[in-house]
């Protein structure tokens, strides 16, 4: 039914139909979860949520080239697509959104979307932008020191590229040829600040040369292009050739967070135009075109995903609240927990 393998973009990448479907399913989970989280916010059940809509293509595409159980994930707050690929479940994500005691990332201590799981190799993230960049380099250094075949994926926005830590982290990784891939999800806004007030260049990727690493620009709405760029960078990293900077041109379809109102700084038309290049739609069309997914199967898949999210929300909502008695725990190491 599918076209012969090597004749298609995904065939050339060695991706099977099943893998394509799994990727698409992850895109749908991310998008559905996003919409549901916003609804929970409007219902007053979630004081704060961070939408990912528009970014799912580059998140799922790049994350897909990573290996669970081996590689290390250093995402930022918008990366629901990345952490889904890394293994966090919608139920776990909603535990965070509802700030429940069992939230695996922080036990409800952090704002939602501040991912982290030692079990899954997702490094705990904070709110300050770009602090994770030197961490990613340090983790890669340690992994190589320990003789591991680990690649570190590190995601961030265009805004992050202005911070000193971004510069220092990329530079260190380049000096030591570390196995890291830096992925910039460039949606051309840091909250409201447009790209031309953040930098005087068109492509963030132009900065790579100044560190002595390759810089690549891809269409962030093209899941397969993102996957291809990441796979190549990942292989390069594993070959000991050092880091790569991948810039995914993407779009944020929604306000920065549930606290933002983006109509103050961009026009509805601009957002509408962006929505015309929706990664979920683009990939769905690709799957239909290559006969990987028919309309009925798609409907079934969407229904299944919706049901999964609804179950996750219902279960997470019922989970116990954080216990005030735990407020003072884990400032320092507590016997029996963590390392």
């Amino acid at each position: 039914m599918a076209a012969p393998l090597t004749d298609t973009p995904h065939g050339a990448l060695g991706l099977s139909d099943d893998e394509l479907l799994a990727m698409y399913r992850t895109l749908l989970v991310a998008r559905t979860l996003d919409e549901a989280a916003l609804r929970q916010n409007r219902m007053g059940r979630a004081p704060f949520v961070v939408p990912a809509a528009g970014h799912e293509g580059c998140q799922v595409g790049t994350a897909w080239a990573m290996r669970r159980g081996i590689d290390i994930w250093v995402p930022y707050y918008r990366d629901v697509g990345v952490v889904l690929v890394a293994g966090l479940t919608p139920y776990e994500i909603f535990l965070g959104i509802f700030a429940k005691a069992d939230d695996p990332c922080s036990g409800g201590r952090q704002m939602p979307s501040h991912w982290g799981s030692r079990r899954l190799g997702i490094i705990s993230g904070s709110s300050p932008i770009a602090t994770q960049i030197p961490h990613a380099a340090g983790i890669a250094y340690a992994a190589r020191y320990r003789g591991e075949d680990t690649v570190v994926g590190c995601w961030f926005g265009d805004g992050a590229t202005s911070e000193g830590d971004w510069h220092e982290g990329l530079n260190f990784a380049a000096i030591h040829h570390l196995p890291v891939v830096f992925v910039c999800e460039n949606n051309r806004y840091a909250i409201s600040v447009p790209q031309h007030k953040q930098m005087a260049v068109r492509d963030v990727a132009d900065r790579a040369a100044g560190y002595g690493m390759p810089g690549v620009v891809v269409d962030g709405a093209d899941v397969l292009a993102c996957y291809a760029a990441m796979r190549e960078a990942h292989e390069r990293a594993r070959r000991g050739e050092g880091p790569t900077l991948i810039e995914c041109k993407t779009d944020r379809f929604l306000p920065h967070t549930s606290d933002d109102d983006d109509r103050t700084y961009r026009s509805p038309e601009e957002v509408e135009r962006a929505r015309g290049h929706d990664p979920v739609a683009v990939f769905g069309a690709y799957l239909r075109e290559h006969a990987v997914l028919g309309p009925e199967a798609e409907d079934r898949l969407r229904a299944e995903v919706r049901a999964e999210i609804e179950r996750a929300i219902a279960a997470a909502w019922e989970a116990p609240e954080a216990d005030p008695a735990t407020l003072g725990l884990h400032v320092f190491h507590e016997p029996g927990r963590g390392r």
Partner: protein, 329 residues
């Protein structure tokens, strides 16, 4: 007089100063088109132009560092740190540069810079949108640290900060932005930096506090007077550095009992300096040990409501109870 909330008082004062003095520019993340994440500078980019309302790249060290350069060359920059929690990347520029340029140049250069930073918690801000930073910077000679609790003080102190020839860190409790209202004179009055104010006179004990906690203390003091006939004097420090030691000692000398209250976690907080000064200078006047109330020594308030609440109010009515206990000790 006009009734305003804290945010509006700050906004109006800064706006009018910008109208009056072309040297004032504001710079920070999202201060332009977005008008600031708290909407403080809404419409200003249109009104004053992009040259005076500068949307900065996401780089706090540059926000402060560039502002220092401006201050060295004839402007009066007002640098906005979006949340006080994000001032840390600018720490070096503040400590090594802004606070030292005058001293290191033997008085040749001055650095008239105002850094505004919304701080404090109680708004579901979690670990990185709730911090108190006053103690860190109060310890840095060369920078003044101001934290108004009322709309009038905010307006008056901001004007003083703008006229000050030295750097001023201007801390705004974000919960007070909309929750705290008060009368503000319509004139361009100033409130002096370095002067505390007795916000409520009393005879039985002194409560030294600042920021949002002032309002909790005032509220508890009112109830205590009504319930128990105990009259707490409440001193609003207003400026952490330089600290107005005289007003504090003056009150403690009269009441002989002192309770210090702040939201920041307790150890090595600003309350320690206040307590130390009292223990040194008013020791013989004290009839009871000093009492300090501060948050628990955890990094900052967690997000989950039960945890956030436990940080701010470890036991029901803890300030009231501490006042009562101290007054009757």
């Amino acid at each position: 007089m006009t009734e305003k909330n804290l945010l509006t008082a700050i906004r109006d004062a800064l706006h009018d100063e910008m109208v009056a003095d072309e040297r004032i520019v504001v710079l920070g993340e999202d201060v332009g088109a977005r008008g600031g994440v708290f909407r403080l500078s809404e419409g200003w980019m249109e009104e004053f132009g992009e040259r005076r309302v500068i949307d900065m790249p996401l780089a706090e060290s540059a926000i402060v560092g560039v502002a220092i350069g401006m201050a060295l060359h004839g402007l009066l920059p007002v640098a906005e740190i979006q949340f006080a929690d994000f001032i840390h990347p600018a720490h070096d520029q503040i400590v090594s540069e802004a606070a030292r340029i005058r001293y290191r140049s033997n008085g040749d250069f001055g650095c008239p810079l105002v850094i505004r930073a919304p701080c404090g918690g109680g708004v579901h801000g979690a670990l990185y949108h709730s911090q108190s930073i006053e103690a860190t910077y109060a310890h840095v000679p060369g920078i003044k640290v101001v934290m108004p609790a009322t709309p009038a003080d905010a307006a008056g102190l901001l004007r003083s900060a703008l006229r000050d020839p030295d750097p001023v860190l201007f801390l705004e409790h974000k919960r007070a932005y909309r929750a705290v209202r008060g009368e503000v004179p319509d004139t361009a009055f100033t409130t002096p930096i370095g002067v505390a104010e007795v916000k409520r006179p009393g005879t039985d004990l002194t409560v030294v506090t600042y920021g949002y906690e002032l309002h909790r203390c005032l509220e508890a003091a009112e109830r205590l007077a009504a319930d128990e006939g105990i009259h707490a004097e409440v001193v609003d420090v207003r400026t952490l550095a330089p600290l107005d030691v005289r007003t504090i000692l003056d009150s403690v000398t009269r009441t002989s009992r002192a309770l210090i209250v702040h939201e920041d976690h307790r150890s090595y907080g600003a309350g320690a300096e206040i307590a130390a000064v009292i223990a040194q200078e008013a020791f013989w006047d004290l009839d009871a040990p000093l009492v300090r109330i501060g948050g628990p020594d955890v990094p900052a308030m967690p997000f989950a409501a039960p945890l956030e609440h436990a940080f701010l109010e470890p036991e029901p009515d803890h300030i009231y109870r501490a006042m009562l206990a101290l007054a009757t000790a």
